[in-house]
């Protein structure tokens, strides 16, 4: 469903050019659960941003469900993002003025879904993450783990086939992190394709497929498996 061929991203600031991604190649199939690891600054977030059409790329080709993303306008990308992609952020990024229900409702509003159906879907998603009884709470009245579950419910509300998560457990303690991971696994089993960036090797190991990004490229996979097995030192430590 997702194909990236020689995708590169160059950030040009006043002084330096940063090659955040270089000749990035990846093929993701429907229903996969992929954990992305790699050292800080290696380009993991950049990859997620491009995959989620939040950013454009400098060169190469990116096809999502056969659609050439490079040819779309900003508005078309917003539309496609709204329909196909759910985001989960490390910082939760709930809107502080909106209560739990309203936060989950946001992507549905932009899709122009009628009020009754919005309500049904929001309830369904909040129940799925176990927060069906706290609709009127504001985000700051919830714990970090609960907030992240709201964020997951929000990502699920649009019934995306593709979930992108950037360190979803980065701000959570290990117990809450495990709960979130279990939730993601459940969602994956129900059919959604998930790409998750994580620094946590334990969580990464639970994902069926692992990729490691080093210096803007996917590192040699066999090497990586050896690292996971502990027989080779991790690249980040080199």
């Amino acid at each position: 469903m997702l194909t990236m061929q020689n995708v590169s991203k160059v950030y040009t600031t006043e002084k330096v050019q940063t090659h955040a991604l270089r000749d990035f190649n990846l093929e993701v199939n429907e229903g996969e659960f992929i954990a992305v690891t790699g050292p800080s600054g290696s380009g993991k977030t950049t990859f997620l941003n491009i995959a989620g059409m939040l950013e454009t790329y400098s060169s190469g080709q990116y096809l999502l469900d056969g659609i050439d993303i490079g040819r779309l306008s900003d508005n078309q990308r917003a539309d496609l993002r709204n329909q196909k992609i759910g985001f989960i952020f490390q910082g939760f990024n709930l809107i502080p003025d909106l209560n739990i229900f309203e936060n989950v409702e946001v992507p549905l509003r932009y899709r122009g879904i009628k009020s009754a159906e919005r309500k049904a879907r929001v309830m369904e998603c909040l129940e799925q993450v176990g927060l069906g009884s706290r609709l009127k709470h504001l985000p700051q009245q919830l714990s970090g783990g609960q907030q992240q579950r709201v964020a997951i419910a929000r990502a699920l509300a649009g019934r995306p086939r593709f979930l992108l998560a950037d360190e979803p457990t980065g701000n959570l303690d290990s117990l809450m992190a495990r709960q979130v991971m279990e939730l993601l696994e459940k969602i994956n089993q129900e059919g959604a394709t998930i790409i998750m960036v994580t620094h946590d090797p334990e969580l990464a190991r639970r994902a069926p497929r692992n990729i490691q990004v080093v210096d803007g490229q996917i590192a040699d996979f066999s090497l990586y498996q050896k690292q996971l097995a502990g027989t080779e030192p991790a690249v980040a430590e080199v």
Binding site: F87, Y110, R154
Partner: protein, 437 residues
């Protein structure tokens, strides 16, 4: 979606009440000042009789020797000589027409109930009442017979009728103007023309006369002119009769011409008339020079709306612009604080247009609230104008169109203020929330 945007706007106002209040005050002040000056301007420049103003004409005749100049832009005098007013009045033209001149008398009832007081009095033909759509609460205009015979009859205003007769039907009763007794034949309803367009000589916005009497009384009563009198050559005027025969201009004249054909034939009449007068040796001119101006042309020609009035309106809009500039600053601060939230919305699928609209709705709502408050401030301003200059009594008010214009101008001003901040915020990079964690 509009309802949702409105909901978000209200939340946003609640979140930053001080900033919101400041912005509302800024727009309300701007609108208050603008609407005060604009309302006065609107009333000044408004057509006083939209259904008829293009049919009522004021003639101007050049009856001076060639080479003698007048101070007007078209070198024509504003008023007519008695000779011309009388001739135009008596001409056999099938149209409503009236000469008119302003005088004044001490008004009393010849008893000790009411102290005599001075009132301006206008001499007219009874056509005047029809031409200027005057409504009567008691009686009606005097007859053509009265016009012809110079009967001592009068039509007074409801206001004067209140003073003299406590508002009762006074038709048939007597009223004294100086020492002369007049019989009241009609009481007219209050004038609602804000501009005294039938005679602009002494202030276009002064109150209209309260008393009307037949024009034909001008000779028997040797009526004094309370308006302007202008001459262009030396004339030895010793008696009232000398004045009537002189080339002094001091009378107004109106004629109602309902169709272009009537206008053409009236112009022909004036051409013939002036040619005839020249032949009689009254003046020496090679050309025939006159003009026929309808009400709006007449108001324009007399500079009823002065350059000063326009400057005041311009200045008030400048003040509004300053308010708008302040609002731009406040909005920039407010909207830019919202960049993280907008980033999330963008990542969740909001298009730039949707984000832009959300913010425009918010500023429009701000404009609506500020504009409504601005109406209140404008009312205060207009009240101030009225209580300072009674001359502006009829002008310093807001009519319906101004009431509607106020919120519209306010919303427009706020949208202008909000365009740049909204554009900035809608261009938030949707990757923002992933990049800044």
């Amino acid at each position: 979606m509009l309802a949702h945007y409105l909901d978000l706007s209200v939340r946003s106002f609640k979140r930053t009440p001080m900033t919101t209040l400041l912005m509302i005050i800024a727009i309300a002040l701007g609108i208050g000042v603008t609407m005060t000056s604009l309302s006065v301007y609107h009333m000044m420049s408004m057509d006083p009789m939209p259904h008829k103003s293009s049919k009522l004409f004021h003639p101007q005749l050049n009856t001076r020797d060639q080479g003698v100049n007048w101070w007007t832009q078209d070198d024509l005098p504003h008023q007519l000589t008695y000779i011309d007013a009388k001739n135009l009045y008596q001409a056999d033209i099938p149209a409503l027409k009236t000469p008119s001149v302003k005088t004044g008398y001490s008004v009393h009832l010849n008893d000790d109930q009411i102290k005599p007081f001075m009132e301006t009095v206008r001499l007219i033909d009874n056509d005047f009442f029809t031409m200027f759509d005057m409504r009567f609460i008691y009686g009606g205009p005097w007859s053509d017979e009265s016009d012809n015979s110079g009967e001592l009859v009068t039509v007074i205003s409801a206001e004067l009728n209140d003073i003299l007769f406590g508002g009762e039907n006074s038709v048939g009763k007597q009223v004294f103007f100086d020492k002369v007794a007049f019989r009241i034949v009609g009481v007219f309803d209050d004038f609602d023309y804000h501009v005294k367009f039938y005679d602009l000589t002494n202030g276009a916005f002064n109150q209209n006369e309260q008393v009307f009497i037949p024009f034909s009384l001008i000779e028997p009563l040797e009526v004094n002119n309370w308006g302007n009198t202008n001459g262009w050559k030396y004339e030895d005027i010793r008696s009232f009769q000398d004045k009537l025969n002189s080339e002094l201009v001091w009378l107004q004249f109106w004629v109602q011409l309902d169709s272009p054909e009537e206008v053409t034939s009236y112009k022909n009449f004036l051409t013939n008339y002036l040619t005839e007068q020249a032949t009689l040796g009254r003046f020496e001119r090679q050309d025939v020079h006159f003009d026929l101006k309808n009400v709006m042309q007449w108001l324009d020609y007399n500079n009823v709306v002065t350059e000063d009035n326009r400057v005041v309106v311009g200045l008030s809009f400048l003040f509004l612009a300053v308010c708008v500039a302040n609002i731009v600053g406040l909005l920039l601060g407010k909207f830019l604080k919202r960049v993280p939230e907008v980033g999330v919305r963008r990542a969740l699928g909001a298009s730039k247009r949707q984000v832009f609209m959300q913010h425009l709705v918010e500023v429009s709502l701000l404009g609506l609230i500020g504009g409504t408050l601005g109406i209140a401030i404008a009312q205060l301003g207009l009240w101030g104008v009225r209580s300072t200059y009674s001359y502006y009594d009829a002008l310093a008010t807001m009519d319906l169109s101004m009431f509607l214009a106020a919120p519209l101008i306010a919303i427009l001003a706020c949208i202008i203020a909000g365009l740049y901040p909204a554009w900035l915020v809608c261009n938030t990079n949707p990757a923002y929330c992933l990049k800044t964690q």
